[in-house]
């Protein structure tokens, strides 16, 4: 079996044109994704976390080949698929599936749920007729839905059940990777747990890899193996879950963790460092480090030079001019 990562993304850039004026000419561009690289191993969950508009969904869409990147390469199982024509891409499509935040809008309301879930199997020519029905019934059972619900329509299910339909559909073609874009954000907490448990069980059973997109750090901590923190189109820190929560090195990660709430009143006493100011527009990102306008640690260099993402310890990548160098004390360690 190949040891190549399930997915590798190299130097990914995606700019959206901003059109303006009477003639709808290009007057600028939104730098939604601004040079992002990462990889995901078989059976691994990589969490992509960051605030609204930082480019998480755009990365998901590029990986799913729903939109074309401006630059950069996408490798599936070590094979470069960036420039494949749609016909050649077809064979690869099956390997990456997706589940969305809002299962309702993603499911055709006019088709019975059994037909919906069986769609990819049919489209890829993997099953027909009675076999298709059987496989769909098994999928229903596997995600905790009663097979006799196959006749029901999407609107007859609750939010959590609809998310299960979406999961069954994604699962149907044995993908290597599932891109899950805020899959539990629209669900009530009591139902979130059901879906998160199911996703973890399926991963362990089938060796699935997840690119898991969320703005919820607690959900991230629960489900991810590694986490990439994004800010305005760039990854600012990428490391294992443990290192991120216990030894994060980027000032933005610090700000994010410090701002997040937890159901423990005792935490009120912690020293919160609330970063001030708003997130700048990705149409006009600040020069240098994108975070410098809000960063309490910024130095002159930060305002002009974009810090590269550097591996400062095995598997721990940070993009910050004030990262620890030569084993000296880290600037954050004196303040946290």
């Amino acid at each position: 079996m190949s040891t190549a990562p399930v997915l590798e993304v190299q130097g990914l850039v995606k700019h959206f044109p901003i059109l303006g004026g009477l003639l709808q000419r290009r007057v600028g561009e939104v730098r939604a994704v601004d040079g992002v690289s990462f990889s995901i191993a078989r059976g691994e969950t990589l969490g992509l976390v960051g605030e609204s508009g930082c480019g998480k969904s755009t990365i998901g869409k590029v990986v799913l080949k729903l939109i074309e990147p401006t630059a950069g390469r996408i490798l599936l199982g070590g094979e470069d698929v960036s420039s494949l024509k749609p016909g050649a891409m077809w064979a690869h499509r099956r390997r990456i599936q997706t589940i969305f935040q809002d299962p309702y809008s993603a499911l055709n309301p006019r088709l019975p749920s059994g037909t919906l879930v069986g769609e990819p199997l049919e489209n890829f020519g993997l099953a027909r007729g009675a076999e298709l029905g059987e496989r769909v019934a098994k999928l229903f059972e596997r995600v905790g839905l009663r097979p006799d619900a196959m006749r029901k329509f999407a609107h007859e299910f609750s939010g959590g059940q609809r998310q299960r339909l979406g999961i069954a559909k994604a699962l149907s073609v044995n993908p290597d990777l599932i891109v899950a874009d805020e899959p539990v954000s629209a669900l009530d907490v009591s139902v979130q747990a059901q879906v998160l448990n199911l996703l973890i069980d399926l991963q362990e059973e089938y060796g699935l890899a997840y690119l898991f997109i969320s703005h919820d750090l607690a959900v991230m901590r629960h489900i991810s193996h590694r986490i990439a923190v994004m800010y305005l189109g760039r990854i600012v820190e990428l490391t294992t879950k443990r290192a991120l929560f216990e030894g994060h090195l980027h000032p933005y990660t610090e700000a994010l963790l410090s701002a997040a709430t937890a159901p423990d009143p005792a935490r009120r006493k912690r020293r919160r460092r609330i970063v001030q100011g708003d997130v700048p527009s990705p149409a006009k990102p600040p020069p240098g480090c994108h975070f410098h306008t809000r960063c309490p640690y910024a130095i002159a260099e930060c305002r002009t030079l974009a810090p590269p993402l550097i591996e400062v310890a095995p598997g721990h990548h940070v993009a910050c001019h004030r990262r620890p160098v030569g084993g000296g004390p880290h600037p954050l360690s004196t303040t946290v």
Partner: protein
């Protein structure tokens, strides 16, 4: 009782129902709580449990075409609001009781400048001149820490970021120094770093102005970090009420306990021996509110439920000082730890 001990808001057995094609929705079905002067009371519960309808009932903003307060009492400063005529309600709203919503864009007027909107509220309620209203507007923008307040007065809502709009909403809501501010999911639409700024601001202004806050949220984390007392709602009813420390240290209602075990925790190491632990699920779904629920609304999903739970509605009983639970099986629940 000293004047200070008299709650500024007393809600008693509030019932607000809606007539819909599917039948009568018992959106709020007998809810009781007090809000002390200058206190922060949190109301928490899942989507559809009646949090917003409770808030709208207090402000008497239930759409009369479909909904009605069918029972109970709401006393503000000792004065009954249920049945109060609309003219008197208008003079209270935005003045003595204010509200901010999740999505400021829906409550801000898109064609009026920020300054005009704050000044209007001040002029209407305090009867000052327009000039004084605008002065107050600038003062309020400074108070909510909007940089460059004088310039922002002349801007329109769409020119502001989400966080700034919520600051403007807070500025309007607090412009007449209300006794009670009802904040319905005020930070849910905001990013976490901005949420932290806004919550901080609300608590700081509460101290400064002595305003009581009713903070409505589905987020137990927000409650834990801001509220003093908490009301937990489920299916239109209050199932538990306690000080924030008592609630989080010893939740007593099976639903509250279930919720706390169902949420992933930011502050607790998730993996044990390299494995991700399972979250505890609450089986089943919330009940349909058009069907009368004779017993406990949680009975269908509750591991402790008995026949009595399904037949008789449990009253809210004090189990520890200041800690009330509406559950028949409190003794067994307590033992289950």
């Amino acid at each position: 009782m000293s004047v200070d001990a008299v709650p500024v808001l007393q809600v008693r057995d509030l019932r607000t129902y809606f007539n819909t094609l599917d039948g009568v929705v018992r959106a709020v079905d007998g809810v009781t709580f007090d809000v002390g002067r200058g206190e922060t009371l949190g109301i928490v519960g899942e989507s559809g449990c009646g949090k917003s309808v409770t808030a709208l009932s207090i402000l008497r903003l239930i759409p009369p075409e479909t909904g009605r307060i069918v029972g109970g009492s709401i006393r503000f400063d000792g004065r009954e609001l249920v049945g109060l005529d609309e003219a008197e309600m208008k003079s209270l709203r935005g003045h003595r009781i204010s509200m901010i919503f999740q999505e400021p864009m829906t409550s801000l007027n898109p064609v009026l400048t920020v300054g005009t909107q704050i000044a209007e509220n001040v002029v209407r309620h305090l009867g000052v001149s327009w000039r004084q209203g605008l002065d107050r507007a600038r003062e309020m923008l400074e108070l909510v820490r909007i940089a460059d307040a004088a310039r922002r007065l002349d801007e329109y809502p769409h020119q502001l970021s989400g966080g700034m709009r919520q600051r403007v909403m807070i500025a309007i809501a607090l412009s007449c120094e209300p006794r009670v501010l009802i904040a319905d999911e005020p930070t849910t639409a905001l990013d976490v770093t901005i949420q932290a700024q806004i919550l901080d601001l609300m608590l700081e202004l509460k101290e400064k102005l002595g305003t009581a806050i009713v903070l409505i949220t589905h987020d137990l984390g927000v409650i834990a970090e801001t509220a003093e007392r908490v009301v937990v709602m489920y299916a239109g009813r209050k199932v538990e009420e306690a000080s924030v420390s008592s609630l989080f240290a010893q939740p007593m209602h099976p639903y509250t306990r279930g919720l706390m075990r169902a949420i992933p925790r930011l502050d607790i190491e998730a993996d044990t021996a390299g494995r991700r632990p399972r979250l505890q699920e609450i089986p089943g779904l919330v009940p349909i509110l058009t069907r009368p629920i004779p017993g406990c609304a949680f009975a269908d999903r509750c591991g402790f439920a008995t026949d009595r739970c399904r037949a008789e509605r449990p009253p809210s009983v004090e189990v520890r000082p200041g800690h009330e639970v509406a559950c028949w099986e409190t003794a067994r629940v307590a033992e289950a730890a």
